[in-house]
C-alpha cells in the first residue's frame, strides 16, 4: 500500500502539499476529500484522521496531519533537493521561523475572504462588514511583515532559494486572490517574488492544482456551488464564528 494523500484543492495547505509532491515526482494516491460536499466528516475519514482535518497523509499505518509536518516528512523520506528544507542549521532555522509566524499570522487570516464571500452565504450566513474590514487590516499588516521581515532583499521568503516556506506562503496568498482581492497590486516586491516562485514551480502544475479554487468565485456567482449538506453546517458555523 503506497502513500495516500487526502486533499481538498480548495484548501491552501492541501495545494501546497499537492504541488510539492508532484514537483518532486513523489508517487501518491490522491484521495480527494471535498470538505464542503460532506465528504470530510465521514466515518471512514474519521477513522483515518481523528482531527478531521485536511491535508492528511497515510503512509502504510502511519497517519499524519498538518501541512508543514507533511511537507517536512515528504522532503526527508523522499530526499528531495536540499533547498526545500535546507540541512544548514541557520537556513533551516529561517524556514522554521517563517512556518511559526505563518501559523499565527497567515493561517486563519488569508482564508477569511473565501468564507465571507462564498462559503458563509452558501449556508445563509452574512459576516458583518466590520469583520471583513478588520480582516483586511490584518492581511495588510501580515503582507507588510512578509515583505519587510521575511522577503527583505532576498529572492525567497527564507533564503535565496525556493523552500517549503514559499510554497506555504504562496498558496495562502492565492486564496483571497481567487475571490477577487488582488493582494499583489501595489506590492511590486511581493509580485516579483510570486513570479519567481511560480516560474520555478511551472504553470502547468499550478493550473492543474489551482483549477477548483480559481473557478470558485465564478461558480458562486452562477450559483453552481453545491449547497453544503446539513451535517457540515456545524463545523462551518464554528469556523465562521472564529472570524475575529
Amino acid at each position: 500500500m503506497g502513500l495516500e494523500l487526502y486533499l481538498d484543492m480548495l484548501s491552501q495547505p492541501c495545494r501546497a502539499v499537492s504541488i510539492f509532491a508532484k514537483k518532486n515526482g513523489i508517487p501518491f494516491k490522491l484521495c480527494t476529500t471535498e470538505v464542503f460536499k460532506g465528504q470530510h466528516p465521514s466515518k471512514e475519514f474519521f477513522q483515518i484522521n481523528s482531527l478531521r482535518r485536511v491535508p492528511t497523509l497515510k503512509d502504510g499505518d502511519f497517519i499524519l496531519t498538518e501541512s508543514s509536518a507533511i511537507l517536512i516528512y515528504l522532503s526527508s523520506k523522499y530526499q528531495t533537493a536540499d533547498h526545500w528544507y535546507p540541512s544548514d542549521l541557520r537556513a533551516r532555522a529561517r524556514v522554521h521561523e517563517y512556518l511559526g509566524w505563518h501559523a499565527d499570522c497567515i493561517r486563519g487570516t488569508f482564508g477569511v475572504p473565501l468564507w465571507t464571500q462564498v462559503m458563509a452565504p452558501l449556508i445563509g450566513v452574512h459576516v458583518p462588514e466590520e469583520k471583513v474590514q478588520r480582516n483586511k487590516t490584518f492581511m495588510d499588516l501580515a503582507l507588510q511583515q512578509l515583505e519587510e521581515k521575511f522577503l527583505g532583499d532576498r529572492a525567497f521568503v527564507a533564503g535565496q532559494q525556493v523552500s517549503l516556506a514559499d510554497l506555504m506562503a504562496l498558496e495562502e496568498l492565492l486564496q483571497p486572490v481567487a475571490v477577487g482581492c488582488d493582494l499583489f497590486e501595489g506590492r511590486p516586491r511581493l509580485a516579483a517574488w510570486r513570479e519567481r516562485v511560480e516560474a520555478f514551480l511551472g504553470s502547468d502544475l499550478l493550473q492543474e492544482t489551482r483549477g477548483p479554487i480559481l473557478n470558485i468565485l465564478e461558480q458562486a456567482v452562477n450559483k453552481k456551488v453545491p449547497t453544503p449538506p446539513p451535517e457540515v453546517h456545524p463545523c462551518m458555523l464554528l469556523r465562521i464564528s472564529r472570524i475575529p
Binding site: I72, S76, G100, R134, K149
Partner: protein
C-alpha cells in the same frame, strides 16, 4: 623618552618584546602578546566568549519564552537572559525593535544571527548544542509527530490558552478549584485582564465559547497526541511535551486550572514537570503565578493602547 609599554592585551596576558626591535616610537609594533596557554581558561576564554555568548530575549510571562528558557537551562546551554518586560512595554522599545521589529518574544541572538519564533529557536538550540535525541527524535515517524504537534498547537492550544488569561472569569477560591462560569458569584474585579485594561466587559458568551474550545482541544490532545503513552512520543519527554505543558499552564496566571478534567492529562503533567525538574519548572512559572498580584495601573499607556487593538482579535 621613556618607552611606553603597551597595556595588557585583550587576553590580559602581558606583552613580550621581540628581539632586535630596539626602542623609540615604533617600539609598540615590536611587541606581541605573551601567550600563557594555561591562563587562557582563567582569563582569556571567558573574556573572548563573553562577546559571543548566546542571548535570549525573554519574559517568562509568555509561554513561548518559558519553553525556550526551560530547554536552555535543562540542557545547560550557556546564555545571557535579556529580560524584556512585557508589562512595561519594553518589547516596543527602540532597543528591542532592533532585535525584533515585530516586537515579539522570544528572540535569540547568536553573534550576528537573530532568530524569532519559539519553535524555530528550540529546534536551533537542539541541533547547535547536540542535546539528547529524545528532545527531537531523529526517527522519521516520531519526528513527524513532534512537527505535527508543534504546528497544531499554535491555534489549538496556544491561542485559546492565552485567551483564557485575557478573558477569564474567576469564581471560587485561589486554590485552583475549577472555574464554573455559570456560578452566580461575580468574578474578582482584579482578575479580569480585558476589563481591567480596556474598561470593557467581555460578553459571557465569548468566555463560555473560549472555555469550551479549551475543553475540546484538551480532549483532542489526549486522544490524538498523548493517548496511553507516558509522553507524546512514547517513553521520553520531547519538545512537544515541553511546549504543550507551558502553554497549558498559561491560564494558571488567572488561577484557572485546565488539568482537572482528565486524570491522564494530570498524570502526564506531573511526569513532564518531574522530567524537567520541579525546581526549574516552578522557577520558570513564578512570574506567571504572581500575575494575579499585578497592579495594572502601572501599565504604560502606549502599551495599553496597543493591547486594546490586539484584543480586538479576541472579541
Amino acid at each position: 623618552m621613556k618607552q611606553e609599554v603597551p597595556e595588557r592585551g585583550v587576553l590580559g596576558l602581558g606583552w613580550r618584546r621581540l628581539k632586535g626591535t630596539g626602542s623609540g616610537p615604533r617600539a609598540q609594533a615590536a611587541y606581541r602578546p605573551r601567550f600563557r596557554a594555561w591562563r587562557l581558561w582563567l582569563v582569556g576564554v571567558p573574556n573572548v566568549c563573553l562577546k559571543m555568548v548566546l542571548e535570549l530575549y525573554l519574559d517568562l510571562l509568555s509561554a513561548s519564552c518559558r519553553a525556550v528558557y526551560i530547554f536552555a537551562r535543562k540542557n545547560s546551554i550557556p546564555f545571557d537572559f535579556q529580560f524584556v518586560d512585557l508589562l512595561k512595554g519594553h518589547h516596543h522599545s527602540k532597543e528591542y525593535i532592533e532585535i525584533n521589529p515585530m516586537k515579539k518574544l522570544p528572540s535569540l541572538k547568536d553573534g550576528k544571527f537573530i532568530l524569532s519564533e519559539s519553535v524555530a529557536i528550540l529546534f536551533y538550540l537542539c541541533r547547535k548544542y547536540s542535546t539528547p535525541s529524545h528532545w527531537y527524535p531523529p526517527d522519521l515517524h516520531t519526528r513527524a509527530r513532534v512537527d505535527e504537534f508543534m504546528a497544531w498547537q499554535h491555534t489549538a492550544i496556544q491561542l485559546p490558552m492565552s485567551k483564557i488569561l485575557w478573558v477569564k472569569l474567576k469564581t471560587g477560591g485561589s486554590d485552583g478549584t475549577r472555574v464554573q462560569p455559570s456560578l452566580p458569584s461575580p468574578p474578582h474585579p482584579g482578575q479580569m485582564l480585558i476589563p481591567m485594561i480596556t474598561g470593557e466587559e467581555v460578553p459571557a458568551e465569548k468566555t463560555e465559547q473560549t472555555l469550551l474550545e479549551v475543553k475540546n482541544n484538551m480532549q483532542l490532545f489526549e486522544e490524538k497526541f498523548l493517548q496511553d503513552k507516558m509522553f507524546i512520543t512514547g517513553d521520553h519527554i520531547s519538545l512537544a511535551d515541553l511546549v504543550a505543558l507551558v502553554e497549558m499552564m498559561q491560564p494558571m496566571g488567572s488561577k484557572y486550572n485546565v488539568f482537572l478534567n482528565s486524570s491522564r492529562i494530570a498524570e502526564w503533567r506531573m511526569r513532564v514537570e518531574l522530567a524537567i525538574g520541579s525546581g526549574l519548572f516552578w522557577e520558570a512559572h513564578d512570574r506567571l503565578m504572581k500575575l494575579a498580584e499585578w497592579d495594572c495601573s502601572t501599565l504604560d499607556p502606549m502599551v495599553k493602547e496597543k493591547i486594546c487593538k490586539l484584543l480586538q482579535k479576541f472579541r
